[in-house]
C-alpha cells in the first residue's frame, strides 16, 4: 500500500470533462475550504472547482459536516513499500489508513455501495483508496469505478494513489468521470524519499534507494501534470515525518502550486511499535502538534491547507470522523433488495430537504435538471451532456442539490452516421439518461432531438428548450410560475401516496 495518507481520503468526483463545470454554490463555499492562506492562491480556485468540492467531505471543510463518504476496499496489492505502512495486521478497532477488514470484488463493491447509499442518504462520494494502491490493481479498481458510474449516476467518484503509475491511467479516469484524485507525495528530494520508501516496483522490477526515490518523484510530478491537463481536481497528501521531511514539504508545496494542486493535506505520521511498521519498530517518533502546525504554516502560502482530515481506513463508511463500515459487511447485505432508482429518488428528497432547510417537505416544489458546460448558461444540447446539474425550485427560490452523470447520449460531432451500431449506442445511452433523470420533473437544455424528447416526456420528464443560452441565475427564479400546476399536482400525489 502506498501510504498512510493515501488512504486517508479518497476522493474524487467526477467532473473532469469541460462540459461539467459548475458554479452556483460558490459563495457559500468559499468559506468552506481552508482558504485561509493566500489571496492569490484562492484566485486560482475557479467557481467550477468550488462546486465540485461542495459535496465532498474530504475536500470541503463545510461539506464534511453534511456529506458522507465511503471507501471501497477492492485494491489489495501495492507497488511501494512505505516505511510507515504495514498492512499485515488487521483489526476492526483500528482506524488508520491501509487497514481493511473485508476485501471486495468489484460486483460486491457495487452492491455494498448501493446498500450504503440507501442507508446513508448523505453519501455523496465513493472512493477507492486501498488497502493497497488502487492503481497497482488497475483491473479491480477501474472495473469497480465503471460499475458504479453506470449504476449510480448521483454519486461522485474519487481515487487515492501513491502516483507511481498514475500517468498511465489518467485518460481512463477521465473517461470514467473521476474528477477528484488524491496523490500521496512525501518528498520532492530523492535522497529524502530514499529514507521514506524501502522500495518501489515498476514494470516488473524492484528499485531501491535514491534511484527508487528519483523514479517515484518524477512519475508523481508527471502524474500531477496529466491530472491538471485533464481538468481533474487534485489534492496531495503528505505524511510529516519529523527529522526526515519537515523541510522538504514546504518546498514540495511550491511545486504543487505550479501544478495546480488544489489542496495540500499534511498529516502527522502514525508510528506505534504495535503497528509493526519499519518506522514504528525503529523508534521514529510522531510529530508534535506544534511541529505539524509549523510545517502547515510554511506550506500554506503556496497551497491551501486541509486540516480536518481524519486519516481514515481504506474501507471507512460514513461521515468524516465516524466509521460505520462494520454495519455493512458484504455477507449481511441483501443484494437483490436495492432498487436504485427508488433509492436515488429518496436521496434527492433528502438533499432537497437539507438544502432548503425543510421547506421542500412543507410545500410544492420541483426538481429541475440543466445542461451546461459552464454552469452559467443553459447552453448544451441534450445529446452532448454527460452531466445534469439538479436544482430544487420552491417559488422563486432555487437550491443546488447535486448532479447526475451519464455517458453522452450522442458521441458524434455534428451529424450522426446512420448506422445500426450508432443507433444502438444511442438507444442504450438514451435509456441510461432516462434512468439517471429518475425523479427529475423538468429538463432545461439548449436543444434536443425529437426522439429523445418524446422518450423523456413518456417517462414523465418535461423538456423545455425555451431558455437556451439564457443564464441559469435569471431563469430559475422565474420558472416556478410557469410550472406551478405541475408542482402542485406532484405535491398532491406525494401527499396522497404518503397518506395511504
Amino acid at each position: 500500500m502506498d501510504s498512510h495518507d493515501n488512504k486517508h481520503h479518497t476522493e474524487t468526483d467526477t467532473d473532469s470533462r469541460p462540459s461539467c463545470k459548475t458554479k452556483c454554490v460558490s459563495e457559500s463555499l468559499t468559506s468552506d475550504i481552508n482558504l485561509s492562506k493566500q489571496a492569490d492562491s484562492t484566485a486560482d480556485i475557479g467557481l467550477s472547482q468550488l462546486q465540485k468540492v461542495s459535496q465532498h467531505p474530504c475536500y470541503s471543510n463545510n461539506a464534511h459536516h453534511k456529506y458522507a463518504r465511503m471507501h471501497l476496499a477492492v485494491a489489495p496489492a501495492c507497488n511501494i513499500q512505505c516505511n510507515y505502512c504495514n498492512r499485515k495486521y488487521d483489526c476492526a478497532n483500528e482506524s488508520r489508513p491501509g487497514v481493511v477488514s473485508e476485501l471486495l470484488t468489484p460486483v460486491q463493491a457495487l452492491q455494498k455501495a448501493q446498500a450504503v447509499a440507501k442507508a446513508i442518504p448523505q453519501l455523496s462520494v465513493i472512493g477507492i483508496a486501498g488497502p493497497g494502491d488502487p492503481l497497482a490493481n488497475p483491473v479491480r479498481t477501474l472495473t469497480t469505478l465503471a460499475l458504479i458510474r453506470e449504476a449510480m449516476p448521483d454519486i461522485k467518484l474519487c481515487l487515492s494513489t501513491n502516483g507511481l503509475t498514475l500517468i498511465d491511467h489518467v485518460d481512463e479516469l477521465l473517461q470514467l468521470g473521476v474528477d477528484h484524485v488524491t496523490v500521496t507525495i512525501n518528498a520532492l528530494d530523492e535522497v529524502i524519499a530514499a529514507q521514506i520508501y524501502k522500495w518501489i516496483y515498476l514494470d516488473g522490477k524492484r528499485y531501491t534507494g535514491v534511484e527508487a526515490g528519483r523514479i517515484l518523484i518524477q512519475r508523481q510530478m508527471a502524474g500531477l501534470q496529466a491530472l491538471a491537463r485533464a481538468g481533474i481536481l487534485t489534492k496531495v497528501n503528505s505524511v510529516l515525518i519529523p527529522g526526515i521531511n519537515e523541510h522538504n514539504l514546504p518546498e514540495l508545496s511550491r511545486e504543487l502550486r505550479r501544478n495546480n494542486v488544489f489542496l495540500h493535506n499534511i498529516m502527522p505520521l502514525i508510528s506505534q511499535p504495535e503497528h509493526g511498521t519499519f518506522f514504528g519498530l525503529n523508534g521514529q517518533r510522531e510529530p508534535s502538534e506544534a511541529e505539524l502546525e509549523q510545517v502547515r504554516e510554511e506550506s500554506g502560502g503556496n497551497v491551501s491547507q486541509m486540516k480536518h482530515c481524519q486519516q481514515c481506513r481504506a474501507d471507512a463508511v460514513g461521515m468524516l470522523g465516524e466509521d460505520r463500515s462494520s454495519e455493512f459487511n458484504i455477507k449481511d447485505i441483501n443484494l437483490q433488495s436495492v432498487d436504485y432508482a427508488h433509492t436515488m429518488l429518496a436521496r434527492s428528497r433528502f438533499q432537497s430537504a437539507l438544502a432548503s432547510r425543510g421547506a421542500s417537505e412543507q410545500q410544492a416544489s420541483l426538481i429541475v435538471a440543466i445542461t451546461s458546460d459552464n454552469n452559467e448558461q443553459i447552453n448544451l444540447h441534450f445529446g452532448h451532456a454527460n452531466c445534469f446539474k439538479l436544482y430544487l425550485l420552491i417559488k422563486n427560490e432555487h437550491y443546488y442539490i447535486g448532479e447526475r452523470r451519464i455517458k453522452r447520449y450522442c458521441s458524434g460531432s455534428d451529424e450522426c452516421p446512420d448506422t445500426d451500431d450508432h443507433q444502438s449506442n444511442h438507444n442504450r445511452n438514451l435509456q441510461q439518461a432516462i434512468k439517471a433523470l429518475h425523479g427529475v420533473d423538468l429538463l432545461l437544455c439548449s436543444r434536443i432531438g425529437n426522439e429523445p424528447q418524446q422518450a423523456l416526456e413518456a417517462a414523465g420528464i418535461k423538456v423545455d428548450v425555451d431558455y437556451g443560452y439564457h443564464s441559469v441565475k435569471t431563469v430559475l427564479p422565474e420558472l416556478f410560475g410557469k410550472y406551478q400546476q405541475q408542482a402542485k399536482l406532484k405535491w398532491r400525489q406525494q401527499n396522497t401516496l404518503e397518506a395511504s
Partner: protein, 63 residues
C-alpha cells in the same frame, strides 16, 4: 523450475496481480503458485512476484 509461497503470506494479492503466467491463485488464506505454469519469469533477472512481495523470504525456489 518454479517458485513457491510460504505460510507467512498475508494475501495482499500483489504477486497474483503481476504474474504474467497466471500461475498464482488464492487457496484458503494464502496464495499458491502452480508449478506447471511458473517459469520464474525467465525474461527478467528477478521474478516479478519476488520483486513485489512485501514479506521478505516468503517466496522461495521450490526444492
Amino acid at each position: 523450475m518454479a517458485l513457491q509461497i510460504g505460510e507467512d503470506c498475508f494475501a495482499c494479492y500483489a504477486c497474483e496481480t503481476v504474474c504474467p503466467a497466471g500461475a498464482i491463485s488464492i487457496k484458503g488464506s494464502i496464495f499458491v503458485i502452480n508449478p506447471a505454469l511458473c517459469s520464474e519469469c525467465k525474461d527478467i533477472d528477478i521474478a516479478r512476484c519476488l520483486a513485489i512481495c512485501p514479506e521478505p523470504s516468503v517466496i522461495n525456489h521450490r526444492a
